[in-house]
């Protein structure tokens, strides 16, 4: 199965800093790139998503940057807060137009005061 490779596995950031999580994909047919956020004991929840027709999408403190030629996309969290401490997953649908998502292995983010 086509994969998405996520890094780093874990990340510690000071409050107010920038958190950056990267994701690389293989299948050039991928055309929808969501990021999900998961808190302990909860299911994942959609945070932000991008289509490859744009290179960047921003929603509040969260930004997705997309590099189609490098087959990479990243999540930037500006002004990171302790409440952002969670596990973040990148994902992509393995087939264009269909949504059984393939998830990365996740990045555990800890924002410390």
């Amino acid at each position: 199965q086509q994969q998405v490779k996520q890094s780093p596995q874990s990340l510690i950031v000071q409050k107010g800093g920038i958190s950056i999580i990267n994701c690389a994909y293989e299948n050039t047919a991928f055309d929808y790139f969501p990021w999900y956020q998961q808190f302990p004991g909860k299911g994942p929840a959609l945070l932000i998503a991008i289509r490859p027709d744009v290179s960047e999408k921003k929603e509040g403190r969260f930004t997705i940057s997309f590099n189609k030629s490098a087959k990479q996309f990243s999540l930037h969290i500006m002004d990171s807060q302790p409440g952002d401490s969670a596990t973040y997953f990148c994902a992509a649908p393995p087939n264009s137009g269909n949504t059984p998502l393939v998830f990365g292995k996740g990045t555990r983010l800890s924002v410390i005061a």
């Binding site: 997953f89 269909n98 059984p100 393939v102 998830f103």
Partner: protein
């Protein structure tokens, strides 16, 4: 809007026993997914339903796992017999349809097989 409901939240069983999980998706959502999330990993799709039909079950271990979605609403996932490696969180998700719509996840059922 009520979210995706799952039960039970936790289950502990001995290996070779059977177990069933229940999911009630968001009202009006045609597509339902079951994912398996092993500790420290991302969710892995087990099966996808569109209404009451199976769209993708390529990663479902069919010798021991089964799932159904009668009447296109609620769904059950069963494991019989369970193995130690089945210990994981089983997540149910639903979406309006099977195109690029947000998937809404339930809280999951944490299964421990001893």
């Amino acid at each position: 809007e009520a979210g995706v409901a799952q039960s039970p939240r936790y289950k502990i069983i001995e290996k070779r026993q059977s177990v069933a999980f229940w999911c009630n998706p968001i009202s009006g959502h045609a597509t339902l997914y079951w994912y398996q999330q092993i500790l420290g990993q991302g969710p892995k799709l087990l099966i996808q339903f569109q209404n009451n039909g199976v769209v993708d079950d390529s990663q479902l271990p069919k010798d021991r796992f089964s799932a159904e979605r009668l009447k296109g609403v609620d769904s059950t996932l069963k494991i019989q017999p369970a193995k130690l490696e089945d210990s994981a969180v089983y997540l149910c998700a639903s979406s309006f349809d099977n195109t690029y719509n947000e998937q809404f996840f339930g809280p999951g059922t944490r299964l421990t097989v001893l």
